[in-house]
Symmetry: C2
Subunit: 263 residues, 2 copies
């Protein structure tokens, strides 16, 4: 099977013009089939504030009421997605911006109210049309996916970008040899959060359990790692968590960088 | 050559939920290859006002400064485009939302300052990648295009939706038998603007000159008609200007509706 890189770029990189520009240089220079999934960043919060809409968070997740859904659809699907696409086009990378609604690539269902928490217009992914994505990729296009989906009944839904990267990777692993790379502002999963160089080079499922028990894995990292191990179990070849600056080195296999997750 | 409908829907229909919903029902039911190009509507102005950014207009065209460009990228490329895509997906139409930057389908250059007027980030279309659009269409997808383009240097540009419909139709006329239909809130080109039923059934280039000389064609209609006659000269088979409600009748060729433009 042909290699396909699914690369997720976090909101903190999106918010930093210089870091984003460097990342996009490296992304554009990667000569392989690839998909980019981007997070949201702070812009949605800033625009909401400008319009007098207050962002509501529960457990680090945005509560998406109807007004917030409009904002994230505009900001993630319009402003950020098109900024990335135009920047990649300028770098001779034939990017095509998509949400899950476009070509019906990622369909979700509205998350049910649980423990009294109504997340609002937040989606849990139900289906990824891997064949449609493969058609676009095989036509020489590079999909750039915003963390938005739809419910098939006319509503857009906000989706966690990490989860989106993971389920998309799993679906594509039936067609490609998929390498999922989470790029963010840290060098990898850290042994000690105060020491930004204390990268754990490799994590297996048993080591993961151990690290969680010892409280070494930080709370914010757990959903990302849960997603990653699910993806590996379901057919993704490798998952790596690394600094956005290290993408090029990783792809050129020049050096061990970041944290690799293994079966 | 196979028939392709390029349908442009005006901002006044986009702004009217009921009219839009009816139009999308008819659009989804149209069993043919098709592209939809949508205008902007008032939402961008409302959002700008909410953020304290004042819309500047010259000759009915929005002056697009950097802040306004952000707003129209969000609103046209995000909010409106994805609302239409999700609504069509709910109607079993496999819509894919695009701007000119996506897959590089429509590239523009920033309009030069002329007669002391700097339109800002407004693009004049330079190139349409008809083959890429044909690849998407032949894959069973229905492109929904927002009135936005890019300059190939990383900048998005605001483009007039009527012009976009016309130049896209011309480019696609090398591959398909193209029928361009402008759908808006009037029944066609009117003989007397006060009488909404005074539709001129057919306009030829010589009749057009005559109508302009007599001052019968309203100012707002002239760019649309100029674009249309350019499109016909350049290979588009028919251009029709009609009410959004009449799309279905026209396509089923049940009755003469709206204004037809002929060589």
């Amino acid at each position: 099977m042909e290699k396909l890189y699914v690369i997720k770029i976090g909101g903190n990189i999106i918010d930093n013009e210089e870091a984003l520009s460097k990342f996009l240089n490296d992304y554009a220079s990667l000569q392989a089939k690839k998909i980019l999934i981007h997070g949201g960043g702070k812009v949605a919060t800033d625009i909401s504030a400008g319009l007098g809409i207050e962002a509501k968070m529960v457990d680090g997740r945005r509560i998406t009421d109807a007004e917030t859904l409009k904002i994230v659809t505009m900001v993630y699907g319009g402003l950020i997605n098109k900024r990335v696409v135009a920047a990649l086009q300028a770098r001779n990378c034939n990017a095509i911006g998509l949400t899950g609604a476009d070509a019906n690539i990622i369909k979700s269902s509205k998350r049910p109210v649980k423990n009294g928490i109504d997340y609002g217009f937040v989606g849990d992914v139900e289906n990824v049309e891997a064949q449609t994505l493969a058609t676009l990729i095989n036509a020489g296009l590079y999909p750039i996916i915003a963390p938005l989906s739809h419910d098939g009944q006319g509503n857009m839904l906000n989706v966690n970008a990490d989860t989106m990267a993971s389920v998309t990777s799993v679906a594509l692993s039936k067609i490609f040899e998929v390498h999922l790379i989470y790029c963010f502002e840290l060098k990898g999963v850290l042994e000690n959060f105060e020491d930004k160089n204390s990268v754990i080079a490799e994590i297996t499922p048993s080591k993961y359990l151990d690290l969680k028990e010892k409280g070494i894995i930080s709370k914010g990292m757990i959903p990302k790692l849960d997603n990653s191990f699910d993806a590996i179990q379901a057919g993704v070849t490798t998952v790596r968590i690394c600094h956005a600056d290290d993408l090029k080195k990783i792809i050129n296999e020049q050096a061990v960088q970041g944290t690799v997750l293994k079966k």
